[in-house]
């Protein structure tokens, strides 16, 4: 049943509903695929031993005539930053090795309630700090397109699992691009919802004011179907929006069926269409714009003058919040405990645990953040960064007055080689220059594949951004663009290496 792993979730959903296949068959096909290729890809940190039983339960419910949601019986991979009551949740860190939370994250609980079948937990940069998944304490994930290259990060595991046909869907989290940049470099679709659109309850926090859980998929419709399941108000997350959301799947279907984009204003952000980006990325981006124009869309050039400060502001705000969020990893209540030789005071045990339990990138950011929040430096760093954030929000507001969506390449380059940037944090940080502004402003963003770069044959990603609460716009216009690109390039994952 290898073919089952090639099908998008929406098609699996139809086959399951029509009882052409069982969930057990679908799940087994994916477990087989994981067994066959994950040794090479290393997308998973943990493969569930409960998946087949969960699938059988969905099949039984269907047999009993239960009313099931569209994704019931469809398998899904879960980024290890999300708490799962039946699987370890380590956030890619040694300090949480083997830790099984007593509860499910809200998005996970909602997936289970909708009948999705968790396949396992996917690899990530430790505590979601990174753009390559090389900072995982459990070794890097490899890009299915080229095993010597990174799958992006921090959610490289989820993107690689979906690209390598190990899972049709995955959950990610996006603090500065951790869903969209891996999407771009693996040829998958990733969405960072509006801040507050999906509950953060049970997502191990990196930077609370930036983190957002979202879907990873192979098609825009699949991402929408998963977003419909996980989204919506959650009283356990005070920052969760009380809004009633429209069906994103309906928006995606509407967009896929649209004949024209007449009346749609597409804003090209001048500051994110840089001469410094890889030539093939820029080329594919402009070709995609031409497709949009040909479909009747109006292209508007917009300027967001403060975007150039976004990376700097982000690397103050994120470490500041992270330094506080990560303080709880102290060995007292859960996780790793390291006692110095001969015993020690609680301070010494805390220090020894954090010394051994955290990797170098985590330590770097905890130190940066602690410094930025210190008395006497707060105004200069954290205060200024928050002001930049306000200016970036104003840039977005001005741009959205001129355009319905904003667009840019989703990442400045295709996947780089493993080890290439790991010793150069600044170069690594600049990888997220296109994705960070959306997090700072809380607006939704989507990455979708826009073809392979001519010079290296690797995937490139197109980014769409919409005003806060207008996620449906991303799915509508994204689905139209996806269809136009498909007509031109074919389904790009069909050109990925076979792996096994």
């Amino acid at each position: 049943m290898t073919e089952l792993t090639r099908l998008p979730a929406a098609e699996l959903s139809d086959l399951l509903a029509e009882r052409e296949v069982s969930s057990v068959e679908v799940v087994r096909a994916h477990l087989d695929r994981i067994a066959a290729v994950d040794g090479a890809v290393h997308a998973f940190l943990h493969v569930s031993d409960a998946a087949l039983a969960a699938a059988a339960a969905v099949d039984a419910a269907r047999g009993d005539g239960a009313a099931l949601g569209p994704l019931a019986g469809v398998p899904v991979a879960i980024k290890d930053v999300l708490c799962t009551h039946d699987m370890p949740s380590t956030a890619g860190s040694r300090i949480l090795e083997g830790w099984v939370p007593p509860y499910d994250a809200t998005p996970v609980a909602r997936m289970r309630a909708a009948g999705l079948v968790p396949l396992g937990k996917t690899n990530m940069d430790e505590f979601a700090m990174g753009s390559s998944t090389e900072h995982s304490a459990y070794g890097p994930t490899r890009n299915p397109w080229d095993l010597d290259r990174i799958p992006g990060g921090s959610g490289g595991g989820s993107a690689a699992a979906v690209a390598a046909l190990e899972a049709p869907l995955a959950l990610g989290s996006d603090t500065g691009g951790s869903i969209r940049q891996p999407g771009a470099v693996t040829g998958t679709v990733g969405v960072k919802p509006t801040y507050g659109g999906v509950s953060r309850y049970g997502a191990i926090a990196l930077a609370s004011s930036l983190d957002q859980v979202g879907p990873v998929a192979r098609t825009v419709l699949d991402a929408a179907l998963l977003h419909d399941v996980i989204g919506g108000h959650d009283p356990k997350d005070s920052t969760s929006l009380p809004d009633a959301w429209p069906s994103f799947a309906d928006a995606a279907r509407e967009g896929a069926g649209a004949d024209s984009l007449r009346g749609v204003r597409i804003g090209v952000v001048r500051e994110l269409d840089s001469a410094g980006f890889q030539a093939g990325v820029t080329q594919r981006f402009h070709e995609a714009l031409e497709l949009l124009v040909a479909a009747g869309a109006e292209i508007v050039e917009v300027s967001a003058p403060h975007f150039e400060y976004a990376v700097a502001a982000y690397y103050v705000i994120l470490p500041a919040e992270a330094s506080s969020n990560l303080a709880k990893f102290d060995s007292v209540r859960f996780g790793l405990r390291v006692t110095p030789p001969g015993g020690g005071t609680v301070e010494q045990v805390m220090a020894a645990t954090r010394e051994l339990g955290f990797g170098p990138e985590v330590k770097r950011r905890v130190i940066l953040g602690t410094y930025a929040l210190s008395a006497g430096y707060y105004d200069a760093y954290y205060g200024s960064a928050q002001q930049v954030r306000t200016l970036i929000q104003r840039d977005f507001a001005a741009a959205f007055a001129q355009a319905d969506v904003l667009v840019s390449p989703a990442a400045p380059t295709t996947a780089f080689r493993i080890g290439e940037k790991v010793d150069d944090p600044l170069a690594m940080y600049l990888n997220d220059v296109t994705t960070i502004p959306a997090n700072l402003a809380g607006v939704p963003g989507m990455a979708l594949p826009m073809g392979l770069a001519p010079e290296d044959g690797l995937p490139t990603g197109f980014q769409l951004m919409a005003p806060a609460r207008e996620d449906a716009r991303l799915y509508r216009i994204g689905a139209t663009l996806e269809r136009l690109l498909g007509e031109r390039h074919g389904a790009i994952l069909d050109r990925a290496p076979a792996l096994a």
Binding site: L82, C83, S89, A91, L96, W99, P101, P102, Y103, A105, R200, Y201, G202, A203, I204, A205, A207, S208, S209, P235, K236, D237, S238, T239, A320, E321, S323, S324, A327, K328, F329, D330, V332, R333, F334, V346, E347, M350, T370, L373, S374, A375, Y378, Y382
Partner: protein, 505 residues
């Protein structure tokens, strides 16, 4: 500092100006905690639970957990702020106070920092002699309590010398309102009394509002007292110490007095006061240094990104304002008149910090004079003897029950005191103690008559004497009967029966 090295209190007050300041933490008695739906041990319903049984992932700071504000706690904080004469901020924020300590599950405390919910208030407090003092309130802000550490293996139960420590997170996340006064100047030798009256007034307000159970021995109300001295008339503020752990009205008074004497002695000897927190020791009546505290303590405060600003509507604030109980001074006036106490009687109650207890006892059905008599009399006597607070010993409802038992004739005064002992000893309600100890007055005339007959048989001349008009002769029989009944008889009834027997009733 040894007692002998302290400066005489009166001398200290003559030579130095005293500045006071108080930070009082009030534990709110909401059903659930500040940021989670865990049961709140500051509510009697859950007090005394086994360690670490009143916890959720939020209380334990488990990865992925998030705080959610308890709206009831916000309303209580607003009520408290209003009762303190404060303005209520239309928008206030929570912040994170970052420091590592094992009783702090997240290693940061969610507190309000630069944007408290209530600010700029003032209350009037009354000293024992009836003089009033206005205390400025700088702010009242919300925060969560930390867990509780028990140090095991050291001689003193303190962290120094302990082998290991146990952490109980039941208290982690209990809702607190911290009330901070402005600097209080010019109290002179009244400083200790001002401290006591201030804390007592805060407790009265919290109890009247019903926002806290106010039991200091449980930590529902905790006082940190700041004291500083400067040379008389210098017009500057001296270096202050902050004495923590001052957890009874009496301790507040004693700790302030001690700090004044200690600081005066150091300054007199040409020394300098170290800015630090100090711990009050109830047993020795002294303070000892805690950790040095400087303004450079860096808690890396920043706005709590997991919570939205607190923005109470004007409608809510006005509703809470309209529901405020009357101010303490007006309330005292009303109670004194309603109860018909003399000024002296009333001040006795107030000065003993028993106003609320008496009020509640009256509300539970006791006559005001009886309620006052029990609280300021027998209960206070037991409290003094055992170095505890009267309110810790017995509930107002139980006192009212005792009063009722006496009034109905079921208990004599003496039996009632014995019943009180039983209640204080934890033997149950007054009725249960009476039952268990067999204290009830014998109201069965048959049993009394039998005892009277027996006594008369032993003293045959008594009836003669009574008939001759020497009614006081009945006393001997009554005494014998009471002795035979082990005090469980109503003497008045025995007298009636004896006189009946003599045919002269």
């Amino acid at each position: 500092m040894a007692r002998a090295d302290l400066m005489d209190f009166d001398e200290a007050c003559q030579r130095f100006d005293i500045a006071l300041g108080f930070e009082v933490h009030v534990e709110l008695s909401t059903r659930t905690k500040m940021f989670s739906d865990a049961p709140n041990p500051a509510s009697s319903e859950f007090h005394g639970a086994e360690p670490n049984t009143l916890v959720t992932p939020v209380c334990l700071g488990l990865p992925g957990s998030l705080p959610v504000v308890n709206e009831q706690a916000i309303e209580h904080a607003i009520s408290l702020g209003l009762a303190l004469g404060c303005s209520i901020a239309p928008s206030s924020r929570f912040a994170r106070k970052n420091y590592f300590y094992p009783d702090l599950a997240k290693n940061y405390q969610i507190s309000q920092y630069d944007e408290p919910i209530a600010f700029d208030g003032s209350i009037e407090i009354e000293l024992e002699d009836g003089r009033t003092v206005a205390i400025g309130i700088e702010r009242a802000h919300m925060e969560e309590d930390a867990g509780k550490l028990t140090h095991v293996g050291g001689a003193t139960g303190r962290i120094q010398g302990a082998e290991y420590s146990l952490v109980d997170y039941n208290r982690a996340g209990v809702p607190l309102v911290e009330i901070v006064t402005r600097v209080i100047l010019g109290t002179g030798a009244d400083a200790p009394a001002v401290g006591r009256a201030y804390v007592s007034t805060i407790r009265d307000i919290a109890l009247a509002l019903g926002v806290s159970e106010g039991r200091m021995e449980r930590g529902n109300l905790r006082c940190d007292a700041n004291v500083s001295l400067s040379p008389k008339g210098s017009g500057v503020l001296g270096t202050r110490t902050e004495t923590k752990n001052v957890n009874s009205m009496r301790s507040v008074e004693r700790a302030i007095r001690y700090e004044i004497q200690r600081q005066a002695a150091i300054l007199d000897a040409g020394g300098a006061i170290v800015q630090e927190t100090r711990h009050w020791h109830e047993d020795t009546g002294t303070t000892s240094p805690g950790r040095p505290k400087s303004d450079a303590d860096d808690y890396r405060y920043f706005p709590e990104p997991d919570l939205l600003p607190v923005q109470p509507s004007a409608v809510l604030v006005e509703r809470l304002r309209a529901a405020l109980p009357e101010p303490p001074a007006a309330r005292r006036r009303r109670l004194r008149e309603t109860w018909g106490f003399t000024d002296l009687e009333f001040r006795d109650v107030v000065n003993a910090g028993l106003l609320v207890e008496v009020e509640r006892t009256v509300a539970a059905g006791a006559a005001p004079a009886q309620a006052r008599k029990w609280w300021t009399g027998e209960i206070s006597r037991i409290a003094n003897a055992s170095d505890r607070e009267p309110a810790e010993l017995i509930d107002p409802a139980a006192v009212a029950e005792l009063v009722g038992l006496v009034e109905s004739g079921a208990l004599t005064d003496r039996l009632a005191r014995e019943a009180l002992d039983g209640v204080v000893a934890g033997e149950g309600s007054p009725a249960e103690v009476v039952e268990r100890r067999g204290l009830a007055v014998v109201s069965d005339d048959g049993a009394l008559v039998a005892a009277i007959d027996e006594a008369l048989a032993a003293q045959p001349d008594v009836l003669e004497k009574i008939r001759d008009g020497k009614v006081q002769a009945a006393g001997a029989v009554i005494g014998a009967v009471m002795k035979a009944m082990q005090g469980k008889a109503d003497a008045a009834r025995v007298r009636e029966l004896v006189l009946e027997r003599a045919g002269s009733a």
